[in-house]
C-alpha cells in the first residue's frame, strides 16, 4: 500500500511541476492575439507589450531597406491600420495584399508593432478564386 501512496505522491508532484512550467510559460511568453481593429481601438497602453496580429499587407505601404535589412508596412483588416516594423529580410511570399502573421512588441506611443517574427501565409488559395465556377 505504501507503494501506491508514494506513486500517487510522485505523480502529484510531477503534475504540479508541469502545471507550474505551463503557467509561468504562458505568463512570460504569452502574447495578446487580436485583430488590427481591436488593437487600433485600444485607448491606453496594454499591460504587456507582447502581441500577435493577423492581417493583410496594405497596398502601397511597403517600405523595404534591403541593406539594413529593415521592412516596414501597414497591416490592415479592411477597417483599421497598424504600422509594423521588422528588422529582417523580406520573406519570399511577402507582398502587398498577402495575409501575414506578425509577433512582437507593440509600442503604444508609436502605434507600431516591432515584429520579431513575420510569417507570410501561402498565397496559392485566393489566387485560385480566379478560376471561376464548376461545370454543373
Amino acid at each position: 500500500m505504501g507503494n501506491s501512496i508514494r506513486l500517487a505522491l510522485l505523480t502529484l508532484i510531477f503534475v504540479a511541476a508541469v502545471g507550474y512550467l505551463i503557467m509561468t510559460g504562458v505568463r512570460q511568453t504569452g502574447m495578446h492575439y487580436m485583430t488590427v481593429t481591436e488593437l487600433a481601438h485600444l485607448d491606453r497602453a496594454p499591460k504587456s507589450e507582447a502581441f500577435r496580429l493577423d492581417g493583410t499587407v496594405a497596398a502601397g505601404s511597403v517600405v523595404y531597406d534591403q541593406k539594413a535589412p529593415k521592412l516596414q508596412f501597414q497591416m490592415t483588416d479592411g477597417k483599421e491600420h497598424i504600422a509594423v516594423v521588422y528588422d529582417g529580410l523580406m520573406p519570399d511570399a511577402f507582398a502587398a495584399g498577402r495575409e501575414v502573421v506578425v509577433e512582437g512588441a507593440y509600442r503604444h506611443q508609436e502605434r507600431a508593432l516591432h515584429a520579431s517574427k513575420l510569417v507570410t501565409k501561402c498565397p496559392s488559395k485566393y489566387e485560385a478564386k480566379g478560376l471561376g465556377k464548376d461545370k454543373s
Binding site: N3, S4, R6, L7, L10, T11, F14, V18, L21, I22, T24, G25, V26, Q28, T29, G30, M31, H32, Y33, M34, R52, D54, Q66, K67, P69, L89, M90, D92, A93, V101, E103, K117, V119, T120, K121, C122, P123, S124, K125, E127, A128, L131, G132, K133, D134, K135, S136
Partner: protein
C-alpha cells in the same frame, strides 16, 4: 474521365459501407460468408482508390486544365516530376492519397493475416473500413478532386514554389504512411474491446505495426525539418509551428506506447493505459491532418483554408467517444494482472517515461491550440510560440533523455542497491566528466549542461549494455569486436535495436543543443570584392549572375568561402523568380561539415549593385540528421525481430 474518377470514389464509399455492414453481420451471426465478402470489399476499396489516383495523375501529367485541381496546382511549364507530385499539393489530392494509403494498409493487413481464420482480424478490418467510409465520403460529397471547370483556363496557377523541392516530393507520402498507419493499432484496440479478447498475442502484433508506422512518421518529421531548413531560408529547422507540432504529437504518444507496451507483455499491467495511448495516437494523427488542412491555426505550412474542418472534428469526436465508451464497458477485461513492486524498477521507469511523454504531448497540444482555448475560457485570445515550447518542453525532454539512460539498466520488479551501484557509478562519472570538459568551451546555462551530462550518461549506459551482452556471450563465439556486436544484435534485435534508437536520440539532442545555443549570424550588403566575416569564415563576393532555368529566373551570388586563410569552396546562394507566379524563392547555399553548417542566403540585389548576404553558422546540425538516420536504422533492426510470445500464447494457437 472525371466521371469515372467520381464513380470510383462513390463505389469506394459503397464498398466501405458494405464492408462494415457485412463484417458486423458476420461477427454477430458467426457466419463466414459475410466476413469473406466484407474482406473482399476492403480489397475493392484499395483497387478503386488506386484507380482514382491513376485518373487524377493522368490529368495532372497531361496538364488537363479542365480539372479544377490540375488548374489550381500545376502549370504547363512545371517539370514533369513536380506535376506528378502535385497530387499531394492540395487538399483534395492529399485526402485521396490518405485514402489510398489507408486502403493499402487495410489490404496489407488482410494479406498478412490471410491464413488466420480468427474473426478477430475481421473486426480489425471492420474498423479500418469504417474510417474508409469517412474518407471516401469526404472525397465523394464534400471535396471531390474531380471537379471540372466551366471555362478551362489556358494555363494553370502553377505549383507553390515552396513545394518545388525534392524533399517535398517524398515528405508527404512518408508522413502520411506514418499517420495513416496508426489505424491498424487503433483497429486492434477496438477489436479487442468489441470481442472482449484477453491474452497478449495481439499486443505483440500491435507493437510491430506501431513500430512500423512510428518509424515512418519519424522519417516524415525529419524530412519536414530538413525541408524547412533548406527551403524556408530562416536558418533553422524547427519552429514549433502548429503543423510541425501536429506531426510531433502522435509520434510522442506513439513513443510512449512503444515503451509501456513492454510492461503489458512482461507483467500484464497497464492494460487500460495502453489502449488509451493507442486511441490517443490515432486521434492525434487525424487531428494532425485536420490542423494541416483546415486552416484553423495560422502556420507557414497551412496551405489552404477549407470547409472540411467540421467534418474532421466531428469524426474525431465520434471515434473518441466510441473508443471511450468501449473502454468503460470492458473495464473487467482490462484488469491488471500484477501490482507494481517498487518505484525504482524497470516498470517504474517506464511509467515515468510514459507520464513524461504524455506531459510533453499535453504541453505541445496546449501551446498549439492556446489561442482557441484561451478565448473559450477567458474570452481573450492569447497566443504562444517558440519561447513557450522552449521553456516548457525542453526541461521535460531533458528529463526523458536522462531516463533513457536510467530505465534500461534498472531491473524488473525491484532494483537493489547493488544493481544501482554497479550500473550507475560509471555513467554518472562519465556524465560529470563531460560536463566539466564542456565548461571551458562556453557551455553555460542549466539546460545545455544537463543535456551534455545526460548525453554522456546515456551513451555510457548503452555502451555498458553492449559490453555486458558480449561478456555474457563470451565463450559461445570468438571473433573480432564488430563481428561480436553484430552477433549480439542479431540474437536480440528488439532490445539492441531499441538501444540503437536511443543512441540516435542522444546524437539528435546534441545536434539540437549545438544548433540552438551556439548559432552565429552576420549580414551585410556586399559589392564585388567586399568581405563578410562570420565566425572563422570569410566570404568574398565575386559577383552576381542571372540565368533562366526551367520555370524560373535565378539570380545567383558567387561567394568565395575561406576558413581562416584556407580556401574551401565557392558557394552560390540564389534567389529564383518563378515566371508564372512572379513568386521569389530563396535558394540557400549550404556548406556542411560534421562540426557545423555554413548557411548562406541571398536577400537580393540592391540598387547600387551590391547584394545583401546573410550568413549563419549552425553548429552540429549534421548531428540532427545523423541522429535521425541512426534512429531509423535501430527501428529497422527492431522491427525485423521475430514475434516474441509468452509461453502460454504459443501453446494456445
Amino acid at each position: 474521365m472525371s466521371e469515372l474518377g467520381r464513380l470510383a470514389l462513390l463505389l469506394g464509399f459503397a464498398c466501405s459501407v458494405f464492408a462494415v455492414g457485412s463484417i458486423a453481420w458476420g461477427l454477430r451471426t458467426g457466419l463466414s460468408g459475410p466476413l469473406r465478402s466484407g474482406r473482399r470489399a476492403v480489397w475493392a476499396v484499395c483497387g478503386l482508390a488506386l484507380l482514382a489516383v491513376i485518373l487524377l495523375e493522368r490529368a495532372l501529367l497531361a496538364r488537363d486544365m479542365s480539372y479544377r485541381y490540375v488548374a489550381e496546382h500545376t502549370s504547363k511549364d512545371l517539370p514533369l516530376h513536380y506535376a506528378f507530385t502535385s497530387l499531394w499539393a492540395g487538399q483534395e489530392g492529399s485526402l485521396l492519397l490518405w485514402l489510398l494509403i489507408l486502403s493499402a494498409y487495410g489490404s496489407a493487413f488482410l494479406f498478412a493475416y490471410r491464413k488466420r481464420l480468427d474473426p478477430f482480424y475481421d473486426a480489425v478490418a471492420m474498423v479500418v473500413a469504417s474510417v474508409m467510409i469517412f474518407f471516401t465520403g469526404l472525397l465523394s460529397f464534400v471535396c471531390s478532386p474531380f471537379r471540372i471547370l466551366a471555362t478551362p483556363p489556358a494555363d494553370g496557377m502553377g505549383l507553390n514554389p515552396l513545394l518545388q523541392d525534392p524533399g517535398m516530393m517524398i515528405h508527404p507520402p512518408i508522413l502520411y504512411t506514418g499517420y495513416v498507419g496508426f489505424i491498424i493499432p487503433f483497429g486492434f484496440a477496438i477489436a479487442v474491446l468489441l470481442l472482449n479478447r484477453s491474452g497478449t498475442r495481439w499486443i505483440e502484433e500491435v507493437r510491430r505495426w506501431t513500430l512500423f508506422c512510428w518509424g515512418f512518421l519519424g522519417v516524415g518529421i525529419l524530412l519536414g525539418a530538413r525541408w524547412a531548413y533548406i527551403e524556408l531560408g530562416w536558418g533553422g529547422y524547427w519552429g514549433w509551428d502548429p503543423v510541425e507540432n501536429a506531426s510531433l504529437m502522435p509520434w510522442l504518444v506513439g513513443t510512449g506506447f512503444l515503451h509501456s507496451v513492454m510492461i503489458e507483455q512482461r507483467r500484464g499491467m497497464l492494460k487500460t493505459w495502453n489502449i488509451v495511448l493507442i486511441v490517443l495516437t490515432f486521434e492525434l494523427s487525424i487531428f494532425g491532418t485536420f490542423l494541416t488542412r483546415s486552416g484553423v491555426l495560422t502556420s507557414v505550412h497551412s496551405f489552404a483554408e477549407s470547409n472540411i474542418g467540421p467534418w474532421f472534428l466531428g469524426f474525431i469526436l465520434l471515434s473518441a467517444t466510441i473508443a471511450t465508451a468501449l473502454i468503460l464497458y470492458r473495464k473487467a477485461l482490462l484488469e491488471s494482472e500484477n501490482r507494481m513492486d517498487a518505484i525504482v524498477s524497470r516498470e517504474g521507469s517506464f511509467l515515468f517515461n510514459n507520464v513524461l511523454f504524455v506531459a510533453l504531448t499535453f504541453a505541445t497540444f496546449l501551446g498549439t491550440t492556446f489561442p482557441v482555448l484561451s478565448e473559450a475560457v477567458t474570452g481573450t485570445k492569447i497566443s504562444v510560440s517558440a519561447p513557450f515550447f522552449n521553456r516548457v518542453n525542453v526541461p521535460i525532454a531533458l528529463a526523458l533523455l536522462l531516463l533513457t539512460g536510467a530505465g534500461p539498466v534498472l531491473s524488473w520488479k525491484r532494483a537493489t542497491a547493488s544493481v544501482l551501484q554497479r550500473n550507475f557509478i560509471l555513467p554518472l562519472f562519465m556524465g560529470t566528466l563531460a560536463t566539466l570538459i564542456a565548461l571551458p568551451f562556453g557551455a553555460t546555462g542549466v539546460y545545455p549542461l544537463v543535456c551534455i551530462f545526460a548525453a554522456a550518461f546515456v551513451t555510457t549506459t548503452i555502451v555498458m549494455e553492449f559490453a555486458r551482452g558480449i561478456q555474457a556471450r563470451k565463450g559461445l563465439e570468438a571473433g573480432a569486436l564488430p563481428a561480436q556486436v553484430t552477433q549480439l544484435v542479431r540474437k536480440n534485435k528488439r532490445r539492441y535495436g531499441g538501444y540503437i534508437v536511443h543512441a540516435g536520440m542522444v546524437i539528435l539532442f546534441v545536434g539540437v543543443l549545438g544548433s540552438s545555443v551556439f548559432q552565429k549570424e552576420a549580414h551585410a550588403p556586399l559589392k564585388t570584392g567586399d568581405v563578410l566575416r562570420v565566425g572563422p569564415y570569410t566570404l568574398t563576393m565575386r559577383g552576381v549572375t542571372e540565368r533562366q532555368k526551367e520555370n524560373a529566373v535565378y539570380t545567383t551570388a558567387i561567394l568565395d568561402v575561406k576558413h581562416g586563410n584556407r580556401f574551401i569552396a565557392t558557394e552560390h546562394p540564389s534567389k529564383a523568380l518563378y515566371t508564372k507566379s512572379q513568386q521569389p524563392m530563396t535558394e540557400v547555399a549550404l556548406h556542411t561539415t560534421p562540426a557545423e553548417d555554413l548557411y548562406m542566403i541571398l536577400g537580393g540585389v540592391n540598387e547600387d549593385g551590391s547584394a545583401s548576404i546573410q550568413a549563419y553558422i549552425n553548429p552540429l546540425v549534421s548531428f540532427v540528421w545523423v541522429g535521425g538516420l541512426v534512429m531509423v536504422f535501430g527501428t529497422l533492426i527492431a522491427v525485423s525481430d521475430k514475434m516474441r510470445l509468452r509461453r502460454e500464447e504459443k501453446e494456445a494457437p
